[in-house]
């Protein structure tokens, strides 16, 4: 009962019918109290581990802070320096945008493609689903990124394979023109999480719509664009927002593949990697905090933009359009 109550407050189901407002009364008040009691570990965690540090970081972003001595107030200096004096900051922004615009759409396309394939009942379906989901479980780990690094190095497996069919690339991670793609491929390969969500979304599409389309003689492509995609759009929307947020914050792949350097020639200097270098290698925590806040604002801006355009392409069942 309590669980249900919390669930209703926390996550109204998209597309589902909203439950009627719960009746007010002593019973309800008591339940709210219990709910808060159960929530308290989470609330304490959020305040102590998230909100507190965030406020501190906002303050630090206006200071010079080297971790060991007291922060020194410098006003907007850090922000001004970032935009006017720091070429590497600008290149890290460029690299990160390139990554977000490449990896997020490619990953979602891969996730949707495989979800469509796995949606039809077939033998060994469970196995395939697990197999495609596995990279998501492993992929964020340092070990896999190390393997990736050795796969794409000069004389690595990929290089040797390509050479055997006559293409000589001379390694990927050691060339500025290719290094980014190694990290993009690593990200795309981990499409399992959005895939599972797409699968769930596909199951929700009523069979009558497909039957109707079949009766009308719609082609497979037409059915996909006129039935599947619109019906799936809330799920696409959700996945897109999550992917954009995650790609902006991407760190491990670049850190491990480029050995923490962002090289060669800064071609994989992700924003978060440069932030880390500034904070933990140069002890410029104030500067790094300013970078963190700019990142937060950028993510908020892009999420906001996606939300803004969503009215035009996201359809909820039962909605009049």
């Amino acid at each position: 009962m309590v669980a249900q109550q919390v669930n209703e407050v926390a996550s109204p189901q998209p597309g589902g019918t909203r439950p009627g407002r719960a009746r007010k009364g002593p019973k309800n008040k008591e339940q709210t109290g219990i709910a808060y009691l159960f929530l308290s570990p989470w609330i304490a965690g959020a305040v102590l581990l998230t909100i507190g540090p965030m406020v501190a970081s906002l303050y630090l972003s206006f200071t010079n802070y080297n971790l060991f001595t007291a922060p020194e107030w410098v006003g907007l200096d850090n922000y001004i320096r970032l935009f006017t004096q720091d070429d590497r900051f600008m290149s890290s922004v460029g690299v990160t945008f390139q990554y977000v615009f490449l990896s997020a759409p490619l990953k979602l396309a891969a996730a949707l493609g495989v979800a469509l394939l796995l949606n039809r009942p077939r033998k060994g379906q469970g196995f395939y689903r697990s197999a495609f989901y596995a990279p998501s479980l492993l992929g964020a780990s340092v070990g896999i990124a190390l393997v990736w690094r050795s796969l794409f190095t000069d004389d690595g497996a990929v290089d040797s394979l390509l050479r055997s069919v006559g293409i000589d690339t001379g390694g990927w991670i050691n060339q500025p023109d290719y290094a980014m793609y190694v990290i993009v491929i690593l990200a795309v390969w981990q499409f399992g999480a959005p895939m599972v969500i797409f699968l769930a979304g596909l199951k929700q599409i009523p069979q009558d719509l497909y039957d109707a389309a079949a009766v009308d003689g719609a082609s497979t492509w037409k059915t996909f664009t006129s039935v599947t995609l619109p019906m799936l759009s809330p799920v696409i929307f959700f996945n897109l927002v999550m992917e954009i947020i995650q790609s902006f914050q991407s760190f491990t792949g670049a850190f491990v593949v480029s050995n923490g350097q962002g090289g060669p020639a800064d071609s994989t200097l992700f924003y978060t990697l440069y932030l880390y270098q500034r904070g933990f290698q140069d002890f410029q925590m104030g500067y790094a905090s300013a970078m963190a806040w700019l990142l937060l604002l950028t993510i908020a801006l892009f999420t906001g933009l996606v939300f803004k355009t969503s009215g035009r392409w996201v359809f909820y069942a039962g909605e009049d359009k």
């Binding site: 004096q85 060339q175 923490g260 090289g263």
Partner: protein
């Protein structure tokens, strides 16, 4: 074992004297094993002291240390790197070791060139744990087979260039004469010192002019354009790990290195590694090489047990038994007695490094003072520029301008 001894000590009546120290260092598992062994001997000799140790790989070590220090939770005894010494010393994190008596923490036996290397503005923030110096490591057998004369003491940058070109030619470009040393901030430092300059002045300003920088970058460029040195695609595989270096992977004949690191090349180049001193500038009487404190050891300023910490440091640096356990895992011992004792027991690659340093001993110069804060950012900028120039994305003139600008901002 140590726990048992201390328990008996407690029963003996001086239970108040029990002290726990924290000691942190970076290094490999091998080093951890022998360090633990040495610590066990220390605990045996000081039954009232327990030493809790922790270690990590170099990458990540200083990130963790910084966080611990910021949280007022610094370990008592800290293995320190030269590059970070000023960063921590200037900010009051490290104890001034001058405050200890000679019988608490002995410095008299330590090689004079190194003894004061941890001193900044009159305060001694660290003592060296080992001595290191620059070297050119080369694949001795392959070089000999190529017929090109081997490097010898007193060779010049011109010699390096011409022999590297000849080496590359001898393999039809399959293998390059030398690894592009443009990534190495330290090689540039040696080159500067051969001209009585340095990376930084004593005041922590930049110690060279744009013209110096341009001349050096043009020298590097000559190595690349004549294929004497590895091209950027190969150079960018360098990540600090010995097995990923072009020398180890067989794409270059030689590489700049630290002599203590050179030992690791033997595991990947079993045919043998030769060590040559740094090339010189024609006519310069300075070799530019110095005795580098390989690793240093510091005591936290707010340690609750400064005396016990000093005893541990003294033991690690000056005790012959400890020295024999630790060997050359951190480089050549700095205490003369320990060094002699360890030197007598060496063989193989360790012997080579020992002989190399002995041969150079008279020429090695005093180390420069610890680099200023901002050094780590500049070193990274240096590596970036060399990479960008190597890939033809930036002209030397622009690189000089960018670097000098960056130096002004960071220092």
């Amino acid at each position: 074992m140590a726990g048992l001894v201390t328990a008996c000590g407690g029963a003996g009546g001086d239970s108040d004297g029990q002290v726990e120290l924290r000691f942190t260092w970076w290094g490999s598992d091998d080093r951890a094993e022998i360090t633990e062994e040495a610590i066990a001997l220390f605990e045996e000799r000081h039954p009232n002291i327990t030493v809790n140790t922790s270690y990590a790989a170099f990458s990540g070590y200083f990130e963790r240390l910084a966080t611990e220090v910021a949280g007022n939770n610094a370990p008592d005894v800290i293995q320190m790197d030269y590059a970070y010494l000023r960063e921590y010393g200037d900010r009051g994190v490290l104890a001034d070791l001058h405050e200890f008596d000679e019988d608490q923490l002995g410095t008299e036996g330590i090689t004079p060139l190194l003894a004061r290397s941890g001193e900044i503005d009159g305060s001694l923030y660290a003592l060296p744990m080992a001595q290191n110096t620059h070297a050119w490591a080369y694949d001795e057998q392959a070089w000999t087979e190529s017929g090109v004369p081997l490097p010898e003491a007193g060779w010049t940058w011109e010699d390096l260039l011409s022999s590297s070109q000849a080496l590359t030619e001898s393999t039809d470009g399959e293998r390059y004469g030398t690894t592009d040393f443009g990534w190495s901030w330290e090689t540039y430092q040696v080159w500067l010192r051969q001209q009585d300059k340095d990376l930084y002045t004593d005041a922590g300003e930049i110690g060279f002019t744009s013209d110096d920088l341009r001349t050096y970058l043009e020298l590097l460029d000559e190595f690349r354009t004549t294929e004497a040195a590895t091209p950027a695609t190969i150079t960018s595989e360098i990540d600090g790990a010995v097995e990923n270096s072009p020398l180890a992977r067989g794409s270059a004949f030689a590489d700049f290195t630290w002599d203590s690191t050179a030992v690791s090349f033997f595991s990947v180049l079993p045919d043998g590694v030769g060590l040559a001193p740094m090339p010189r500038i024609e006519g310069s009487d300075r070799v530019g090489q110095f005795a580098k404190p390989g690793m240093l050891i510091s005591i936290a300023a707010n340690s609750d047990h400064p005396e016990e910490s000093a005893a541990l440091v003294d033991f690690l640096l000056n005790d012959v038994d400890a020295g024999l356990i630790l060997g050359t895992s951190r480089g050549m011992p700095v205490n003369d007695d320990v060094r002699a004792a360890v030197g007598a027991e060496l063989d193989g690659p360790d012997q080579l490094v020992y002989d190399y340093e002995e041969a150079l001993a008279d020429e090695l110069e005093e180390p420069p003072s610890a680099p200023p804060p901002g050094n780590s950012a500049l070193k990274r900028e240096w590596q970036r520029l060399n990479s960008v120039i190597g890939f033809g994305q930036l002209s030397i003139d622009d690189a000089v301008e960018q670097f000098m600008e960056r130096a002004e901002q960071e220092l």
